[in-house]
């Protein structure tokens, strides 16, 4: 591939730690193969920075196959870059052209403070989950798995919602930095299944309360979250959450 690669101008957010104010740095990278993934392109940049005696750019990543949810990045203002339903690790450089300038930033939200460079703290998602993103069942001897029938369409819709990878793109894409798509995916999954129904009211109230406490914004139905979501989570989950929330507030013991 040598000699056929692209020349790129990378404008990357550098921030030493949470207290640092942060700023953009410009890097020029040449001979970028179109077959590289976006993160491999950053690997190449980092190898060059190390050779030059500069600190490499910090970015989160792990599985590099689009499922762990660890990678992030705002790429030219789009969460996970330009491709639909694609995480940054699955984005390939053939999507860009020779001579392009690429602006790379971390997720920006009050509830996702920057740790370093492009790495943010998404612990708020875990804290929301700890308030109700589960069925209260201990390990032991539950009934045989086929005791309760689950209509295929409910199981399929629950699976659609459960596909969320918890990356935070929805928050980063939202002008209000709302986490409602993330929360609604878990709420929907569990309220669609018979196993989740007993705690339905309590779950939605507790998770939404924690979401508010973490400093996420409110949802104004812009649907930018759905457009940015690499796992294809639909905003119809938000509608389902709103319905559950209203029911819980008006009709349940927990909401009184």
């Amino acid at each position: 591939m040598s000699g056929q690669g692209m020349e790129l101008k990378l404008q990357i957010w550098r921030q030493a730690n949470a207290e640092d104010k942060g700023r953009f740095h410009i890097y020029h990278l040449s001979d970028v193969s179109p077959h590289m993934s976006f993160l491999e392109m950053l690997d190449v940049l980092n190898e060059q920075l190390i050779t030059l005696g500069e600190e490499p750019v910090a970015f989160d990543h792990d599985c590099r196959e689009g499922i762990c949810g660890m990678c992030s990045l705002m790429i030219n203002g789009q969460a996970h870059g330009p491709d639909k339903e694609t995480t940054t690790c699955q984005l390939h450089m053939r999507r860009f052209s020779d001579g392009d300038t690429i602006v790379i930033e971390p997720w920006r939200a009050k509830a996702f403070p920057v740790i370093r460079d492009l790495v943010v703290d998404r612990g708020s998602f875990d804290r929301i989950m700890s308030k109700g993103g589960f069925v209260s069942v201990n390990t032991g001897n539950p009934a045989d798995a086929n005791t309760i029938l689950v209509p295929k369409q409910d199981a399929d819709r629950a699976m659609d919602a459960a596909a969320c990878i918890g990356c935070g793109a929805c928050v980063a894409a939202c002008k209000n930095a709302s986490a409602l798509l993330f929360v609604s995916a878990k709420v929907s999954q569990l309220s669609l299944l018979p196993q989740g129904k007993p705690e339905k009211a309590q779950r939605v109230l507790n998770m939404v309360a924690q979401m508010d406490e973490e400093g996420f914004g409110s949802c104004t139905n812009t649907s930018e979250c759905e457009a940015a979501c690499p796992a294809g989570i639909s905003v119809s989950n938000i509608a389902r959450l709103n319905r559950d929330y209203m029911c819980a507030m008006l009709c349940s013991e927990e909401g009184m």
Partner: protein
């Protein structure tokens, strides 16, 4: 010559007939009363299927649990990437499955190098795993009537695999993670994300805690407890390129090994036949295409050496469907180890395809003509989409190019039947231990083992250890605790002090090359000896020339990586030594010297029917071999044949 310990290892297998062993053991295990459980602390390292399920289950029982992971959230662990499914002997399809049959398939699939009693227990609890996951709200695939759906997987003649689309690992992990987060919410688990275990703390020979490094600020801490449960996955990244996540590493297991835990069968590595081939020297990882594709795809290469024509331009008569040719009975559905070696053989002989010629075709042309594109799309749409995205080639139009890649490691820390290592108080679960898959793992069995260990084994066996060792706590000021801490701190300072010119990544890649070329799919005595020398030399390079940027007191991914590579460089040598000493071919371990006339693996049950547990003797020194003889009373030893 390998130094062999006189006494054999005792797996502490319970007495009685195989189907009663686990019940017998449970009745012997001591219990901790509910009131006393809250006086005990357990450390769980790693939050994949094994770790998350163990941490949640132990906390539910009342123990105080501290759980650690290096990722930013416990939900990221690499179990999440498993695609195909999870086996369980439910026999819902009424097709003749049973606990015994799952047990038999697993022992045979492992090429008779697993411990029978463990495999039987795994099979016994497999059904409960499905019940547990359904109760948690895991959205398994369903039939129209609302019952659970099953599919078939490699190495079995029954449909026993439960699945959630192509994301079974994700859904099972999120189920275990939700159980874990429930306990975090209740205060019974304290979760420590972005923390790396950098040493084991032993006091009077018993595992009593760990040393951790906070990856966000470099701070070291010591955590003491009454037991340590290690669930830190496999070591495939010693090859640099593998299907593992980038962060997967051997560090926690290796540090335990250096503190006395035996490392068993490190040479048993699973090379998965259907992965997307390497495309350039910038490549950072390899992506798996599910084994299920071989149900409909046909594997071939051109009959003519070096034929560089496009697949479509090569007529049928000039194609070599080599798996169908060599293994007419099983064809494209031979086990993973067999399919991988056959692909390598063709490429090495000059028949490989694509720009690098390190690939073979996996062709769906016939399946599409037979069943229609819509049917193939419904079955494999997500995989075709992923392949298209990565390679920019449409597999509906042109055949996929695939090549084997390192996927799973069957070896791991040695454990007894209770999943306790030879260091009392140190338990090892999931891929990190060695016990259940022998020399080759069957598809859809890794998820089963991780959850079996975490949900249904460790809650019983950890209690027994606690009850026998009492409630006494260890202070953070204990001299052995301080010593472990200082040693760990010293290692980081040493790495930062080298100030050389080679990047960590370049050294890791070089190690991967050595491993792949000489300790990979086919191994020879000469190659393994020279690999050990190369690894020693590269270790010198690392400690003389490595260049790590930044400081030890900040978020520093370069330093994290350096610490892991330093451990891989020590571990890799043990890997080569184990492969050299095992003068036979079995499962994922193939020695060129030990093959039949038609190039199949030749086991040596006379001399090698044992698990090899290695004892550390210092870096660069020959380790001591401890043998655990393996008895096959239920499934008689036979030679696998797929002809």
């Amino acid at each position: 010559m390998v130094q062999v310990a006189e006494a054999t290892l005792d797996g502490r297998i319970p007495d009685g007939p195989i189907e009663q062993k686990w019940d017998n053991r449970k009745s012997e295990l001591k219990l901790v009363s509910p009131n006393n459980k809250r006086k005990y602390e357990v450390i769980v390292v790693g939050t994949g299927l094994a770790g998350a399920s163990a941490a949640a289950s132990l906390a539910e029982l009342g123990y105080n649990v501290k759980a650690f992971c290096f990722q930013d959230s416990p939900r990221r662990a690499h179990s999440i990437a498993a695609q195909g499914g999870i086996n369980a002997a439910k026999n819902y399809p009424n097709d003749g499955d049973s606990i015994w049959r799952l047990f038999y398939d697993t022992v045979k699939g492992g090429d008779y190098r697993a411990r029978e009693a463990n495999v039987y227990r795994l099979s016994q609890v497999s059904g409960s795993i499905i019940d547990q996951c359904v109760a948690q709200g895991v959205p398994f695939a369903r039939e129209y009537g609302g019952l659970l759906a099953n599919r078939t997987f490699g190495g079995a003649q029954v449909s026993r695999t439960f699945y959630a689309r192509g994301q079974t690992g994700q859904q099972l992990l999120l189920g275990a993670y939700s159980a874990l987060m429930r306990q975090v919410g209740s205060g019974k688990v304290k979760m420590y994300p972005r923390q790396e275990m950098v040493d084991l703390i032993k006091v009077d020979g018993v595992a009593r805690g760990i040393v951790t490094r906070d990856l966000t600020n470099g701070k070291f801490e010591t955590h003491t407890a009454h037991a340590v449960v290690l669930c830190t996955g496999g070591y495939g990244n010693v090859f640099y390129l593998s299907t593992n996540a980038k962060g997967c590493n051997v560090t926690a297991a290796w540090r335990c090994h250096k503190r006395g835990a035996l490392f068993a069968n490190p040479c048993y590595t699973q090379i998965h036949p259907t992965c997307i081939p390497v495309s350039g020297d910038y490549q950072s990882k390899l992506t798996l295409m599910s084994e299920s594709l071989r149900n409909d795809g046909r594997v071939w290469v051109p009959k003519a050496e070096g034929d560089a024509r496009r697949a479509a331009d090569i007529p049928e008569g000039e194609r070599d469907y080599y798996l169908e040719r060599r293994y007419p009975a099983f064809g494209n559905m031979v086990p993973r180890d067999v399919a991988s070696r056959a692909a390598k053989e063709r490429c090495d002989a000059g028949f490989g395809v694509g720009a690098t010629q390190q690939a073979v075709f996996l062709d769906f042309k016939h399946a599409i003509a037979r069943d229609g594109e819509a049917t193939i799309r419904a079955k494999y749409g997500n995989l075709f989409h992923m392949y298209h995205k990565i390679t920019d080639e449409d597999p509906y139009q042109v055949p996929m190019r695939i090549y084997p890649a390192v996927h799973y490691t069957m070896g791991g820390l040695w454990v007894d039947y209770n999943l306790q290592s030879n260091v009392p108080g140190l338990f090892v679960l999931g891929e990190a231990n060695f016990s259940d898959h022998g020399a080759n793992r069957l598809g859809a069995s890794a998820l089963m083992q991780g959850l079996a260990d975490g949900y249904f084994v460790i809650p019983y066996t950890v209690g027994d250890h606690m009850a026998r060792h009492g409630q006494e706590k260890v202070s953070n000021d204990h001299p052995e605790v301080r010593a472990s801490l200082e040693e760990a701190q010293g290692r980081v300072s040493k790495i930062l002090g080298v100030a050389g010119f080679r990047s960590v990544d370049s050294i890791h890649r070089e190690l991967g090359q050595i491993m792949w070329n000489k300790v990979g799919m086919s191994r020879t005595a000469g190659g393994l000896k020279s690999a050990a020398e190369d690894i020693q030399a590269l270790r010198e390079v690392f400690w003389n020339d490595v260049k790590v940027m930044g400081t030890g007191e900040s978020f520093n991914q370069n330093l994290e990586h350096a610490g892991r590579v330093a451990d891989f460089l020590e571990f890799a040598e043990l890997f080569a030594i184990d492969a050299l000493h095992r003068e036979e071919s079995c499962g994922g371990h193939f020695r060129d010297e030990h093959q039949t006339d038609d190039n199949e693996a030749r086991r040596d049950d006379e001399n090698f029917c044992y698990a090899a547990g290695w004892e550390f003797q210092g870096v660069g020194n020959e380790p001591v071999l401890h043998k655990e003889p393996l008895d096959f009373n239920e499934v008689p030893l036979t030679t696998r044949s797929y002809k």
